[in-house]
Point group: C2
């Protein structure tokens, strides 16, 4: 029997209209849709893709929320095993992921395992949260000679990125927001943030003083150098 | 009369299936489609969007190709004037742009001018060339604690970015490819490149030795740190 293919499908940052034509086609053609499930009931990727996959079988995939490496690896191994069984039976599976599958996604850990088990995988790119945030702000991220640095803000101290050349996008600030807002208040740059871009409860802040220290996982902060 | 809105529409990097549902809707609803035109006959954004805008009026916008600042500003001023006249008449105009409008696009220069003239503008994000290249390679761009640096390779010397922390995406290498391939041959990193991603003549290179020193504007090079 022909083995199935695993598709990593980026569903974008929030607005269901920001899926690509290709993502929608792959979701519709798939035999089942795999959904990262942290057990907390918050399945953001599923909420975004919902209208395109009505009636489709869902495969809930154990997904880690803590930073514990061993626990995370166990989750990914378990997910790869579940998916491999279905792919062996010839099913094509679409694994949905927030934003783009190549930018800080769980999918990359799953893809490596499933590919190493001999299955075909294919990635369908998605709109990143930072492109959507820039669009919402009506701002560019980088122009001309400016580099752009994407910073995983929960695991990099401000000292580690503040001096880097170019504009910055701070992602996944999470619990580090208080330290981050303090650091951003001290630098000379144009700062803006979008929380829950394209989702319920969307909000925009301009200037370090407007940043909400309680803003969480779904915040993107854009820091632009002044010329 | 109600003034029209200028939409900056990202059409993605090449594959017409990589437009978003929203981009297609905006293109279909627009009264006219504005197209950057460098005069060289190479209208890449138009080729990508073609199937969605059959029969639609096109507005060709003077677009600079040289790096001359004054010439570029004159082009943008002229384009803004052309668009403002149409917006004043109540027309909604979709300005199409390769990839995403917030990442090294001509649109941002136009948008600033048109907004300053009092018109409403709205940005529709697109798939970036680097997300599409990563998808094509089956590789992530950044995982966990890794930052990602987007480098405008034609205007930054290798010394200026090679030592920066994290993975790198080199864009717009253009005529700097020979110097770039030489620099990449000397560093310890995983290197892969996609040229014309999703377009005719697509090619993939893995390893610095496979890089084509003649690869041009539509090449994206991904440089990943080894851990």
């Amino acid at each position: 029997m022909k083995k199935g293919t695993l598709y990593g499908v980026g569903v974008g940052p929030g607005d269901p209209e920001l899926l690509t034509i290709k993502a929608v086609r792959i979701l519709r053609e798939a035999d089942a849709v795999a959904v990262p499930d942290t057990g907390s009931g918050d399945k953001a990727a599923l909420a975004i893709a919902q209208s395109y996959i009505a009636g489709k079988e869902l495969i809930l995939c154990p997904s880690p929320m803590s930073g514990n490496r061993r626990e995370a690896d166990a989750c990914y191994d378990e997910t790869a095993k579940i998916l491999a069984e279905r792919l062996s039976n010839g099913d094509n599976i679409a694994f949905i992921t927030l934003g783009d599958p190549s930018v800080y996604s769980t999918y990359c850990y799953i893809q490596k395992r499933v590919a190493a088990m001999g299955f075909e995988t294919q990635t369908i790119p998605g709109i990143t949260s930072f492109c959507a945030a820039a669009a919402r702000l009506g701002e560019s991220l980088c122009e001309g000679k400016e580099p752009l640095v994407i910073v995983p803000a929960s695991s990099m101290k401000p000292e580690a990125w503040i001096g880097l050349p170019g504009n910055k996008v701070l992602m996944k600030a999470g619990g580090k927001m208080p330290a981050l807002t303090a650091a951003l208040g001290r630098i000379d740059a144009d700062i803006a943030a979008v929380t829950n871009c394209g989702m319920e409860g969307e909000s925009v802040a301009r200037g370090a003083e407007e940043l909400d220290a309680s803003a969480g996982y779904f915040s993107v902060i854009v820091v632009k150098e002044r010329h």
